[in-house]
Symmetry: D3
């Protein structure tokens, strides 16, 4: 049985992420979804709390019939890059591969002797966190179709558009 790790910030979890999970599950029996920068929220690039992000992911996976094959874990920033991959290994249930297109992630995991495979991401232009947050700021709901319905519902329930507008209109705390 093989398990693949997928790491991201998921701000928010969108259809591109869901497709990537599906693609991982074509190669692995199970996927661990690691939600990075878990202590961050209420910032322009980190809109949702980790609890909200875990909920979006979990409900989207249930909706897609994949919940039973996925584990979701939160990963606080460690701000010590040379330890980051090992930190991730400790916070996560065991995994056999990492799926990532980041050369840095690849390097750091390979130093930990974990094989890194390329992540198949579809339609990169639209399925992109900053593009989606830009649409949220426009406030017309155009981002909703880029998220799995469950994730869009949760983002709407926490009034993501209003929250982002408030953050953009404020100084940093």
């Amino acid at each position: 049985m093989a398990r693949g790790l997928f790491v991201g910030r998921f701000q928010p979890f969108h259809n591109g992420h869901l497709e990537a999970v599906k693609s991982i599950l074509r190669e692995c029996d199970e996927a661990v979804i690691a939600v990075g920068s878990s202590q961050k929220s209420h910032e322009p690039d980190n809109l949702f709390t980790v609890g909200e992000r875990i909920e979006m992911i979990y409900e989207s996976l249930k909706e897609a019939g994949l919940a039973g094959k996925c584990l979701v874990v939160g990963i606080p920033d460690i701000n010590y890059n040379a330890l980051w991959a090992k930190h991730l290994k400790i916070l996560s249930p065991g995994f056999d591969f990492v799926y990532s297109n980041s050369p840095l992630v690849k390097r750091l995991f390979e130093e930990e002797r974990v094989k890194v495979k390329p992540l198949k991401m579809v339609q990169r232009n639209e399925y992109d966190g900053s593009h989606i947050r830009k649409l949220m700021l426009e406030g017309k709901g155009a981002w909703k179709r880029l998220l799995p319905p469950a994730a869009a519902r949760i983002a709407a329930a926490v009034k993501a558009e209003k929250r982002l507008k408030e953050i953009m209109g404020s100084d940093k705390l």
Copy 2:
């Protein structure tokens, strides 16, 4: 739909914990299992890494047919008690109740306006983390029958008895 939160260190996850989860699931549709002191491991009272603990819990739940109704999250210590309950709320998907017998946990969550219900724990004497670690130190495997088979298998796979003996025979790092 109601979700109940169950918080512990799960060093290790034992049959008492599993029974508690079942009891929560008789009252709630879903349970969040929050694994505390997530940064700790390789200590006398904190034997397993959080990744190992999440794996024990997740596999025990699968074995018991409960995985689809449970979410497992790791909770790093915050060392700032007055913020602890809110910290937990942020790191976890939303929940409706907390199940705990700790008067302090009850107080801190009630200050966050979360209702706390008593946790039904069976056979407290045997189903107890420190009792189980004491049996591990004896090194004869008597602890295994106190854990769900999957959890016992994972603990054995990481050589829990040997690890604990090494820790007990060493100065603190």
Copy 3:
């Protein structure tokens, strides 16, 4: 008896801040002045230590006859926005309202069920921390009339102009 909270970095405490305190004291019996980013100093945007800032505030309030109605507390950054408002509640004596024009501060306190009222700030253009620091860098003392006399005296005593020039001419530590 009502207490209002006024939160800022006060780099430095200027006449606009003093007017705001007066305006809060027209609605409340007492004001708590919370000095944020308390661990920061000797940076371009964070010139003074928190001890210097508390001293500026306290002496300016004495000068204005308001010291008996105000409490000043330092607030270290928590870098965990979702906990920020609760962190402030714990570090401060109890308060009934927060005065702020920041939509993010408003949101975070309202999640803590604290009512947030608008802060009346006069002459925003001049009474502004970065404008004042710009004048300090020019080194001709033009900033002094924008601060309460006591605050200006303390800033001068720690040689604020020289300090800022040194910081601007150095790499980050």
Copy 4:
């Protein structure tokens, strides 16, 4: 004008502390009261939050007519003893002397070239934080007469006896 620093945890602020403040104010024009371990609360030896402690101190000082001569600041633990005295100097408005009977505090401040004077404490047996917390645990209010009335009122308002009993009956978080 001279300012004296008085540092303690003030769990809780009691008559011995108040007498010490009075004694400092016989030698100095103003006192800074530095409330240590400010991030701690809800522990057996650290019952109150720093906000509660600041409030107890501030209201006791008002009651004693001393509020105008005192400043209260919170001091988070730094867990780096060699930096502790300098940390305190930065977090506090300027002071001329420290009042303390601790040889370690004396050493660390003298390394910072701050003169340390002995602190006159009266009736040490009764006016002692752990004695008072022991009385709180007995639950009969016998501790109240050891605190300034305002401090006792605030401790009672936050149900100190009940809180301490809950903490003592719980595992560490």
Copy 5:
């Protein structure tokens, strides 16, 4: 006997640094080389781990016959500027002077009553960390002649060019 302190990030240690050490050793018997931002690596401006940087420095000093007169210490960031100079004093063996051209470093050490002398740096344009990293990114080895041979060999051994390219082609972790 006099000891001089030389503080930098040494990303990487280059000929300008080595010349500066030599110049310090013309005035002092020994030099302490303090390697700042020690927890950082695998970032655009912080390419090497502190262990790698210490190794570069130590081997370059051996090559230059200076190892016996130098001590190398790592200095983690403290993110609390007012404590920085004292932090450095505690982490380092005793020293008599600091050599630095940074007005901020000068100020902070003078507040600690440490004399700061100007650092003689030669050919600043070429002997500059960011210039060298720019050459590394070009990937043609032109940076090698700007480093002491031992440092260049260590940088090449850890494949500095490839590492930097990977970092520049990745999002922040």
Copy 6:
């Protein structure tokens, strides 16, 4: 060329440690001496600052003619045991073996694929940090003959006996 790592707190560096270094240098060309708990000092079990400890070690090695073969590095506690060995690898120049008798250190480095060899320690009873600190508390200098002369001289210069007595007679900060 082989390098061996020797890790300890060196509170203080004593003859047993020096003998251990010599024994490592019979098997390796160079030794790295890693000084743990580097942020701690002024505590009953952590008397000296890391700067003082590095100085003791460095001067003792010079005295023994070994300075040219040794590198000394400070290691702050990470309070995350599962990452400790990797943390040490990053903070230190490269090494081939670790010398330690601690089963836990052995386990953690072996997980990092570093071979751990037993450390030959002579006369364990006397050459022991807590025994030496006990003698320091007695205040008669009997500890001096257990340290290399240079280390004893440095400990005496910082008035180790007086410091320890002050610490033992004080509450924790």
